[in-house]
Point group: C2
Chain length 211, copies 2
DNA sequence: TAGATTGTTAATCGATTAACAATC
DNA sequence: TAGATTGTTAATCGATTAACAATC
């Protein structure tokens, strides 16, 4: 008798496919289309039609038999389901090349991630701004985040510092960590962890290239 | 009677975990350790010991019963298995904020990815260099790549251009595409495709934050 | 009505987990 | 020898695929 009955938890692989559908129907919309069927999506992006149907069943949308889905509806429902219409505030720890690029990437804000500050220990960048976003000394985070209240911590520090910095961010009130380091950090129950290691993806690509 | 008998194909989830083990044992090495057991890794990075054992069984390494693995051996074997000791040449299509960051990230070269050129259509950046890597006009790619022979194409263009640009890169001889756009591109049989959409990872994180 | 599509239910497939044998 | 560890084999779990009923 839990509320799991009402919202079946979507499996992660399915969740990761939804942005593909969104991206494709946005393209269709820009071409003036108004209706799309799952079989049509299936052919274009190389995912089986039954998988698309199954994935969309987790989302609150209903298509019309023999017709398909209304493109505007589908875009709205997917964007809202994926959290792209809300604003989530974030800080970036480690303003090296990747961290700085994330500060500069205005695309992220369109997808609901608003970076409000960077933190680093390098005097050459502390107290400067990148793309109008201030960079502070890491020591100041806990004090500053009492007001700023960033919800998400983006982790782009060297791997050796990853675990320590993540714990520091959590002490400062962060509820989720987006980990770009190759290091597998551990977080307490209740903290969300998203690993995005470019090196792991490189490894998969290299392996498939040789096999 | 195929050679699949000799090299069991490693599942992708397992392949993505191997860099975690590598990262952790490199940390141990930097702390002066010489031996590590899978149970020790398990505790520290929150992966079950049996999964680590299973994952390592795909790799050509053998541990010593009652002792564990030699750290230097494990690092060498993992780095070589993951392709980090080879040099793979790459070009980056789309030198926006993310593309430029990849050109600037010297970390990638340490993991076996050597970016030899950027390509874009924006006159403001074409024929300049970023971090000593030249940026050319996209039109010149096919001609230039006859000599440069980049093996991997990194795709950081706007989603609407993703499919078209990927086909162009493949015509130019690229064997694998590292796709950073949220668009699900289709590639011919035999071309390796690695999707790394930051937005998909954002979506997973947002979903888990709310749930 | 016939046919195309949605969307659910059942079957299959593959990865993870658990149990345990082998080893030093 | 006793105990800790590797590494394999079997059981479980969950996602994908296939079949098909419902619908317009």
């Amino acid at each position: 008798m839990s509320d799991l009955i009402y919202s079946a938890k979507i499996p992660e692989p399915a969740l990761r496919r939804l942005p593909w559908y969104l991206s494709y129907v946005k393209l269709l919309k820009s071409q003036g289309e108004t209706i799309v069927s799952s079989t049509q999506i299936a052919k274009k992006i190389d995912v089986s039609a039954s998988q698309i149907a199954k994935d969309l069943s987790y989302v609150d949308i209903s298509g019309k038999t023999r017709v398909g889905y209304d493109i505007d509806d589908l875009i709205n429902v997917l964007e809202s389901f994926l959290g792209f219409t809300n604003t989530h505030t974030a800080v970036v720890f480690g303003v090296g090349s990747l961290g700085a690029a994330l500060l500069s990437d205005s695309g992220l804000e369109q997808f609901g991630l608003k970076i409000i500050a960077g933190y680093d220990v390098n005097p050459a960048i502390v107290n400067h701004a990148i793309h109008h976003i201030p960079v502070f000394h890491s020591n100041e985070f806990i004090e500053r985040n009492k007001e700023m209240k960033a919800e998400i911590g983006v982790l782009t520090v060297p791997p050796g510092a990853a675990q320590e910095v993540s714990e520091y961010m959590i002490r400062g009130g962060v509820k989720a960590i987006w980990n770009f380091t190759p290091f597998r950090i551990r977080v307490p129950e209740g903290t969300v962890l998203q690993n995005t290691s470019l090196y792991a993806h490189l490894a998969v690509m290299f392996n498939r290239l040789n096999g």
